[in-house]
Amino acid sequence: MSGEPILEAEGLRTSFFVKRGSRKFELKAVDDVSFHLDRGEILGLVGETGCGKTTVGRSLVGLAKAKAGTVTYGGENILSVRQSRLRDIRLKIRMVFQDPYASLNPRRSIGDSIAEAGDIHNHFKDKADRAGQIARALENVGLDAAYADRFPHELSGGQRQRVGIARSILPEPDIIIADEPVSALDVSIQAQVLNLLMDLRKSMQLTILFISHDLSVVGQISDRIAVMYLGRIVELAEAGELFSSPAHPYTEALIAAIPKPDPSRKIHASLARGEPPSRLELKPGCTYADRCPIRQERCLTDAPDLKPSAGGKLVACHFA
């Protein structure tokens, strides 16, 4: 499935500043994140709340401002490129949003919402061309072309999410950042939408960054998976490898915590002790140290880098 790298993120850092009382804290949402996307692959980006996965996605489409690092696409660093080039790039790297109920303007027809990118960039030759492309986009996502004249409130959650996907493929992009695209959907609809994404990946040669907190879903659809914790990638591996031999203790805990639909395999205790610390005041050393079952002295002072490990994986742990 993978070709050559199409996008390369290096040392990405994005922070938000939060005021608590009179003090100002730096919330390091993304703290030195590096990864690459191969053409045609689905890279899963997984982690729990606050790990920074959504911020990584938003930094790639310009919704969050990275404070450091580079993102190389098409031979240039899109984080520091000219405004005029940026507009073209926005057509090629698109986002699908999580909430199907909030991501469509309730006052605009489905067709108008789908054609928005095209309208912004004057992509359509004329009205007929526009209508034709909208119809094709709808068909590509499994909806009847007649939906173009309807409004969001007439559609179900699953249908709206399909519309969100249709919006992201018109005009055809290179990369789709899917930010929790199925998290708000029922299991049976989830399956439909996941199948749709896999279909589109094949038919349009798309590359997808699939962001989710649900490891089972990510595991099902991704070729490679990056696990994030508190702003850092702690493990990056082929999907199969990640599940069969997780290297980082957090990955192990995450996999172990997934409730399996099998009553004979009960999870007894969480392998991760306690809960994640406050993101505002991170201690030095490994961010996972205070919850890690195998932590040692060194972990409290020395933050591990993401380094190659056995089986072609990348792991950020002193003892993986």
Binding site: S156, D262, E275
Partner: protein
């Protein structure tokens, strides 16, 4: 059986003919048992639990028929606070979003003690002592410090533990948990689930656990009720349900679960989508999406097919094939 619900229906008030969003639901839970109610959004599981608790949004919805028997006594006509305060131990409830269920401008310790005072459930002791006892039960260390915190200062898992502590204040016989872990991270969810199981055993409560997550059901429940479009589709012991799902809907649900350990590519979704309540006609609500549908499915009453001891499926064509983790045909 501590809690028995017979033929419960919830309908839109003043609708004629009655528009039921929950239709003819029956279930029962024994002491120390966890009953999982599983289904997708709109299946009526939350409404059923609200009806049991007496919290249906009036005047829009109302219970229409059926009985809710707590230790044999029908509580359908009692307001919620009376259902909590039953002498034999009442019904208590925890919800999905602890952030909205807790008062943001009140310290959590105060909220626990408010529950104790309002229901006069100090059982003789000072509320502070009882509050600390409750925090102990839900494994919150450092009680003094946590009691003085505001909800937004605590993590999601902590807030949910506080919610559970408040629910336990009146020594309930039945605990209804409506998707309590859905909003939590998976590592924290594991902790809360094991806490609920522990409390169920320790306090001999009957727990009604509502979720859309089949994995959670497998972890926690002793018995399971699967709901679809406002009705019960299937009831079974958890092992039996996962080994031999009979109802085509249950079957369909299992087949579309992502399984990272068997990464076979495409999933097998159930085609179509759940019907609006106004579109449910006669016969089986699942008929339009069912692979095994025949003419008799589309009208008339559904039989309660007996699959095995304690295993019922409301279907003309219960399937006897394998579940997600094997089992014989």
């Amino acid at each position: 059986m501590v809690l028995r619900v017979n033929d419960l229906s919830v309908s839109i008030a003043n609708s004629d003919p009655p528009l039921d969003i929950v239709k003819g639901v029956s279930l029962e839970i024994g002491e120390g048992e966890i009953l999982g109610v599983v289904g997708e959004s709109g299946c009526g599981k939350s409404m059923t639990s609200l009806a049991i608790m007496g919290l249906l949004p009036k005047p829009a919805l109302a219970q229409r028929g059926g009985e809710i028997l707590l230790e044999g006594k029908d509580v359908s006509d009692l307001p919620p606070y009376r259902r909590i305060e039953q002498d034999c131990g009442g019904i208590s409830m925890i919800f999905q979003e602890p952030m909205t269920s807790l008062n943001p401008v009140m310290r959590v310790g105060e909220q626990i003690m408010e529950a104790l005072r309002v229901h006069d459930a100090g059982s003789g002791r000072a509320p502070e002592a009882r509050a600390r006892e409750l925090l102990d039960l839900v494994h919150i260390a450092d009680a003094a410090h946590q009691l003085s915190a505001y909800p937004h200062e605590l993590s999601g898992g902590m807030r949910q533990r506080i919610m559970i502590a408040i629910a336990l204040a009146c020594n309930p016989k039945v605990l209804i948990a409506d998707e309590p872990t859905t909003a939590l991270d998976v590592t924290v969810q594991a902790q809360i689930l094991s806490l609920i199981r522990e409390l169920c055993e320790e306090l001999s409560m009957a727990v009604l656990f509502i979720t859309h997550d089949l994995g959670v059901v497998a972890q926690l429940a002793d018995r399971v009720v699967v709901m679809y479009a406002g009705q019960v589709a299937e009831t079974a012991d958890v092992d039996d349900l996962f080994a031999r799902p009979a109802h085509p809907y249950t079957h369909g649900l299992f087949s579309c679960l992502p399984d990272p350990e068997n990464r076979s590519g495409y999933l097998n979704p159930i085609p179509g989508q759940a019907p609006l309540i106004t579109d449910i006609g006669d016969g089986c609500a699942f008929a339009p999406r069912c692979r095994f549908v025949t003419a008799e499915c589309r009208s008339g009453l559904l039989p309660a097919a007996d699959i095995a001891a304690g295993h019922l499926a409301m279907c003309h064509h219960p399937q006897g094939s394998t579940g997600p983790n094997g089992g014989s045909r």
